[in-house]
Amino acid sequence: MDFQHSLYEAERICLAPIDHEKDPEIVSRWTHDAEYLRMLEMEAARPLSPAQVKKKLESIEKEMDEHKNQFHFTVRMRSDDRLIGFAQVSWIEWTHGSGWIKMGIGAKEDRRCGYGTEVLGLLLRFAFDELNLYRLSALVPEYNEGALRLLKKANFTEEVRRRQALQRFGRCWDLLNLGLLRDEWRSK
């Protein structure tokens, strides 16, 4: 059999497992940048210490093992294995073939380098070609323009607009659900 693509490797970045020794220090630094958290989370932003991050990463892996409905990856540079972000498919409903994706590039200097496009490409192939899901969803605040651009470029459609569901930067914002069906991904 001839597999054309690696599931884990793109041009510059790759998907990898968690390193429980080295990763917490780096992820903790990311959580001290409120802008990063506010792009990703609805809950109140708060910095986490390396010990708190370590616990969180351990619980993610424990849940992956116990519930078998989520897949969490770290994102690393292929050149030197440096940790630059995370990517996940979560809340999979196997009976319906649906799942949610989420990803982040942690450090400011690593954003706007096109890594996100590579990560998303791998994540979509993993979800559709390996997990055989029927559809994927992503939850994005209206103000996260980078994420919206990235997802729409990958053929995602805006499906739901939860009016004024977020309150940040001194005003209300809509919370969007975007969706992509397997056929729409294949036709790209």
């Binding site: 009976t95 499906e159 939860r162 569901a165 977020l166």
Partner: protein
């Protein structure tokens, strides 16, 4: 208004029941698969009253709560007919989800659900002081969609083909109501 009991209306009241009472009711309601096809995307499944009671007993009273769970009692007989829950409350955003189910079929389509939803929205907006309430409803549950529209919810979108049931794909509809919209409705309502 000060002096009114916000837990009671004409046809229903919102209550808290013991784990044993809840467990008996839920294990009876579970045997109605149609109800669960309307309520949940998880595969339908039945649990014993004993198991349900064990889950209920784990529930701790948090303050502020992440969830406000009520049973629905029909008046005047005070019969336990269903439940309603405000859950996933995000206090920093003022948003939450609502889920409602009438386990007793004889009480469907008679306005009990609508009244219970109205009491629940009143609780969400005038006691918890939330800014909005969100819900998800399946495309094939048109009865529920109509009753939510009547309560003031607006359609906010549909996730295409989110459910596969009995050989077909169905959308998951999202609906939402804002505190301002609810207040507007209150001021228009006949006294």
């Amino acid at each position: 208004m000060i002096g009114t009991n916000i837990f009671q209306d004409q046809k229903v009241r919102l209550c808290a029941d013991d784990p044993e009472t809840l467990a008996q009711a839920f294990s009876r309601w579970e045997r109605n698969d149609e109800l669960w096809l309307m309520l949940d995307s998880d595969p339908v499944v039945m649990w014993s009253a004993k198991k349900i009671k064990e889950w209920n007993e784990k529930g701790e009273i948090e303050n502020p709560p992440k969830e406000a769970f009520f049973t629905i009692h029909a008046l005047p007989e005070d019969k336990l007919i269903g439940f309603v829950s405000l859950n996933s409350i995000l206090w920093n955003q003022g948003d939450c989800w609502v889920a409602i189910g009438l386990g007793e079929r004889d009480y469907w389509g008679k306005g009990y659900g609508t009244e219970a939803m109205n009491l629940t929205l009143q609780y969400a907006f005038s006691e918890l002081n939330l800014r909005r309430v969100t819900l998800g409803v399946f495309e094939y549950n048109q009865r529920a969609v109509h009753s939510y529209e009547k309560a003031g919810f607006r359609l906010e979108g549909r996730m295409r083909g989110m459910l596969q049931r009995q050989g077909r794909r169905y959308d998951l509809l999202f609906m939402g109501i804002l505190q301002d919209e609810w207040k507007q409705l209150q001021s228009q309502a006949p006294a």
